[in-house]
Amino acid sequence: MKGILDIFTIVAVAAGAFFFLAGTVGLLRFPDTFTRLHALTKADNLGLGLVVIGLLPQMDGVMAGLKLILVWLMVLLASATVSQIIARALRRGGPEP
């Protein structure tokens, strides 16, 4: 059982790390700020999300696991708000959505 959970952790964390790599590459390579914003949210949602899911079996206790998920939800809330605000600031000059 321990072995299976460890393999799950390794797979999920590796996938999460890949999305952070993808987010960074996107931030460096995409042509304009809107598409770069798109790259940024991939890393926030999927990268951290997969790392959190991967670490869940390594936590001791349900409480620690719930806090870990709360961390992810709050980062989602923060990054969603920041993306909205950046996008609106970018659109300024055009019609306000």
């Binding site: 999460g16 960074t24 931030l27 990268g47």
Partner: protein, 95 residues
């Protein structure tokens, strides 16, 4: 397992930081801000991985603090009047 988690932590940190260092030099404040935001998320991930590796259970509480404050710096940037393509000579009067 410990070695893998430490390696993953270093990998996430280095990847995103490499991007950060490139973008900090760039001309656009908004890109800098987005890069800082990305680094904030990656920092939380690296922190959680390091904490799991060294067996520090309290790292979840630490991540909780960072997550609550995750939007804070970016909001301060926007409030301070960072606008894409804004002329730096014309500061917003809303600091």
């Amino acid at each position: 397992m410990t070695e893998f988690l430490l390696g993953a932590s270093a990998f996430v940190l280095l990847t995103v930081a490499a991007g950060l260092v490139c973008i900090l030099r760039g001309p656009d404040d908004v890109d800098r801000m987005m890069s800082v935001q990305l680094f904030g998320t990656a920092g939380i991930a690296a922190l959680l991985l390091l904490g799991a590796a060294i067996g520090a259970a309290a790292v979840v509480d630490l991540a909780l603090i960072l997550a609550v404050l995750a939007a804070f710096a970016a909001l301060a940037f926007v409030k301070a009047g960072v606008r894409p393509g804004a002329d730096p000579a014309e500061p917003e009067d809303r600091a």
